[in-house]
Amino acid sequence: MAKFTLNEEPVELDVDPAMPILWVVREKLGQNGTKFGCGIAACGACTVHLDGVPVRSCSTAVAEAEGRTVTTIEGVAGPEGELTAIQKAWISEQVPQCGYCQSGQIMSATALLRDNPSPSDEDINAAMSGNICRCGTYTRIRRAIKVASGQLEPREVRESGEA
């Protein structure tokens, strides 16, 4: 029996303790925001927070979450669904293309900004280089992190001349 907290809800279920958190949250708990990308912790699409620390859920057994707190993309927004500054910046900068990797990108960026409210380019590189985006939205992710951290005006303001 696995017991942990998922997005502030207690969870208890009978599951192979070796099963990665990714498949437990997706297939057993119906939370599909966390994505399968590679299965070997090489792409970051499956990034969740375990006690606040970003981990690759495809390669982290649910046994490791025992008694701990797992946060997924579904648990990032406020109690009434209000988006975080990062999520808002992702919209203002029109970051996603296909969007498949973006849950993982946002989880990595969320941990970065919590620990470092005003990250430099090097800080962003260090925190975000584990997350692959095949659509190539890296420059927009960088801008969105800077917008969310107040280092850059949102696009609507920057480009107010263009609708």
């Binding site: 099963m19 590679c38 579904e74 095949r134 659509c135």
Partner: protein
């Protein structure tokens, strides 16, 4: 030169239909697909149950529904794979409809023959008719729609959605719906329709003071005759087109609620999960299977030998994959003589050698190249090679299948839902009209999901088990058992006159797919040109990979032109400009690029710039890259791009596509490589099939030129082809080392 007008190149049509863009010959044999796809007679009664199930929703024509809250829904036939087509197509329809943008919603059209994209199909079958207005005007009622249906023409690809379906279906549908709404209001109000204005989803008759939301007349509008060729707006009248409207799908992609194929969780279905193993070499079949260990593993339900692949079905995908990893399979002997990467390139070289100086199939010819070489003062020669590539979209291949009572439902990410339906029918015998293909968002594709195989595999598993199954491919399966951008070898010979001018150009290569013009240096005024193809075996199955043949030829041609400039001791920009004198759009794009990138500024440190220009999918794109070689290996420090697509419908969305195309192309240029050993692919996942990451992609600046008065060009692919040559030309400028083989990174390791 390869003239694209049909009367000058009658073989062109046959070539397109024979080769077929998506490789399966699904398009009707040379038939012209004409018409806007808005059929007269308003097939609303038949379609409404499929798309307007909601309370109070009224389908006005096939592409527009309006509900009682005055919400306008654009029914979009193309898939959304990150290119933003859903939003921009809705933007185009809404503009012609004069709908209030904040009241516009987007709906994925169902997989139904009524939603074929006739104009996209026409682009693939008969591209030379695309911009002839006379071809578009007559709507030949059922005829061409029937051809499109036969051809399963519900395709997203070829950077075509905006310039075909957008320009010739969505805008027409929006304008027609507006006319129908006005007609209905005119009848009710007893005023002439021409006195009624439309604005923000509202009908207004100023003289009588009457106004009403569209919703009030949606039902009556559906009874109005359909205007087959309504007058479309002039650019000066656009309110939404040309504006960077935020994409409608993005909010769901930042909170985890967007549904991709992988996320399909059909209501009421208790899913089991399958992991699959295909043959290591294409064409092999199962001889025997040892699944003893897998049988006893936790969660395993069934182990299936399906002849061409093996599947393990379990309570979870992870359990299925763990069990599958223990299954030992013996396969039949491979049929291909090609075992290694070297074998593939040897086969190419042998074919090119055999063709000699004049052999092979002519791809383009102009002037007299043979004589011109005799007059040349300088001869330059170069051979370039590029490896096989996988698409590697972030969402692994998957399909959820449910077969019950002779009916089949599948949920999958696909660029070709009707082709998937046909593929399933062919593989299983289930009639097409009993198959329903649901296609949610695609987690990237880039050409990967233009086939039906993975869906047919899922349906065969569901048939064998008798219960609904979600079939998921591992990353390793998708890297090693898919369809591939072909490896290619290309040889060039150039003749320069005393002044350094390129007067003779000869090129021979082995892989010609689409678009046919990709290998032709058609933008340049080179007086004597010979481009030839030597037939050679291709070991791995062909895939259209973002920008298709332009992905190889863009690099070949723009590298060779750079080599010619160097041989002529000319600046690479000036050398190109001199060959583009008759092409003002190309000149304008290059000049803008030179200004943005400060091309002529003095170099600093180990940094240098390279540039390239490629026209593809109707869009001219020039790119410059600055590279820093001070560490001994290339580090990109700045990227600039200038694009002329005629008219850009959503500038920010277009820029996003240019950025993405460049990163995709530069990823391949730096790292992309699949090697063969014993006929199978060596690389397996992102650790050995590397991607560019955050720390390697510098700022990208994109400028757009709306030159207007030309057909609208594509966005998804044209950013890619100039990226690799701009980078390798920059490396040459910095180091004098000419890169003639991709990928780059290992050459500096």
């Amino acid at each position: 030169m390869n003239d694209l007008t049909p009367e000058k190149n009658p073989s062109r049509l046959a070539k397109w239909s024979r080769r077929g863009f998506i490789g399966a010959g699904v398009l009707a044999g040379g038939g012209l697909l004409i018409g806007i796809g808005v059929r007269s007679g308003n097939p609303i009664d038949a379609l409404a149950p499929k798309v307007a199930a909601g309370e109070g929703e009224q389908l006005v024509n096939s592409w527009v529904k309006i509900d009682t809250d005055n919400i306008v829904t654009a029914i979009v036939p193309h898939c959304e794979m990150g290119q933003g087509a859903h939003s921009v197509l809705a933007q185009m329809l809404a503009d012609e409809l004069d709908a209030a943008w904040d009241k516009v919603r987007v709906m994925q059209a169902p997989t139904d023959g009524s939603y074929i994209v006739t104009d996209t199909a026409r682009m693939f079958v008969a591209p030379f008719t695309m911009n002839a207005a006379d071809w578009i005007e007559p709507t030949w009622d059922g005829l061409f729609t029937q051809i499109g249906r036969f051809a399963d023409a519900l395709i997203t690809g070829g950077s075509s959605s905006i310039r075909t379906t957008g320009q010739h279906q969505m805008r027409v549908a929006g304008a027609a719906a507006r006319t129908m709404l006005k007609g209905a209001a005119a009848d009710a109000w007893g005023v002439p329709a021409k006195e009624i204005e439309t604005r923000d989803s509202t009908l207004i008759h100023t003289a009588s003071g009457k106004s009403a939301p569209y919703a009030e007349f949606a039902t009556a509008a559906a009874e109005q005759p359909m205007d087959q060729s309504p007058k479309l707006k002039d650019p000066s009248q656009y309110r939404l087109m040309g504006k960077s409207k935020a994409r409608t799908d993005i909010p769901s992609k930042v909170d985890g609620t967007a549904i991709f194929g992988m996320d399909a969780a059909p209501e009421g279905l208790d899913l089991s999960y399958a992991a699959t193993l295909r043959a290591p070499v294409p064409g092999q079949r199962v001889v025997s299977m040892d699944a003893m260990r897998a049988k006893g593993m936790r969660g395993v339900l069934q182990i299936l030998n399906l002849g061409d692949f093996v599947a393990v079905v379990a309570d979870s995908y992870w359990q299925a994959q763990q069990a599958l990893n223990t299954v030992k399979v013996e396969w039949t002997k491979p049929e291909s003589a090609i075992g290694s990467t070297q074998d593939q390139f040897d086969a190419y070289a042998a074919a090119i050698d055999a063709a000699g100086a004049t052999g092979g199939e002519e791809a383009a010819a102009k002037g007299d190249a043979a004589s011109a070489f005799e007059q040349a003062a300088t001869i330059i020669e170069a051979e370039y090679k590029v490896p096989y590539l996988a698409h590697a979209p972030m969402e692994p291949i998957n399909c959820t299948a449910h077969v019950k009572d002779g009916k089949c439902d599948v949920w999958t990410s696909t660029q070709v839902p009707l082709m998937v339906r046909t593929g399933i029918s062919d593989a299983t015998g289930i009639p097409k009209d009993a198959i329903n293909v649901h296609h949610p968002y695609l987690g990237g594709s880039f050409g990967r999901r233009l086939e039906a195989v993975y869906a047919t595999m899922a349906v065969r598993i569901a048939q064998a088990t008798g219960y609904p199954v979600k079939s998921v491919w591992s990353r390793e399966e998708d890297t090693q058992k898919a369809l591939y951008r072909p490896a290619e070898l290309s040889r060039f010979k150039g003749g320069l006159d005393d002044a350094g001018k390129l007067i003779a150009y000869d090129n021979i290569f082995t892989q010609r797919h689409d678009p046919a013009e990709a290998s032709v240096p058609g933008i340049y005024a080179i007086p004597n040109t010979s481009v030839r193809v030597a037939e050679a075996p291709l070991h791995l199955p062909f895939a259209a990979w973002r920008s298709v043949d332009h992905s190889q030829h863009g690099w070949f041609i723009e590298s060779f032109i750079d080599e010619a400039a160097h041989a002529a001791d000319a600046d690479p920009l000036d050398y190109r400009l001199a060959m583009l004198e008759g092409s003002p759009r190309h000149v304008a794009v290059l000049k803008k690029l030179a200004e943005m990138s400060e091309w002529s500024a003095a170099r600093t440190g180990g940094r240098a710039k390279g540039l390239a220009i490629v026209e593809s999918f109707g869009t001219i794109v020039a790119e410059a890259i600055e590279v820093d070689m001070s560490s001994g290996s290339p580090k990109m420090t700045n990227i600039w791009a200038v694009a002329d697509a005629g008219y850009v419908m959503n500038p920010d969305g277009f820029r996003n596509q240019m950025e993405g195309g460049m990163v995709y192309g530069l990823t391949a240029a730096m790292y992309g490589e699949l090697d063969l050993e014993d006929g199978t692919i060596v690389q397996s996942n992102f650790h050995d099939y590397r991607m560019l990451r955050m720390d390697e992609v510098p700022e990208i600046k994109v400028a757009i030129i709306n030159s207007g008065d030309v057909p609208v060009g594509g966005a998804g692919e044209p950013g890619l082809p100039p990226a690799a040559p701009a980078l390798t030309n920059a490396i040459f400028a910095a180091t004098g080392k000419r890169i003639r083989e991709l990928p780059i990174a290992k050459q500096f390791a």
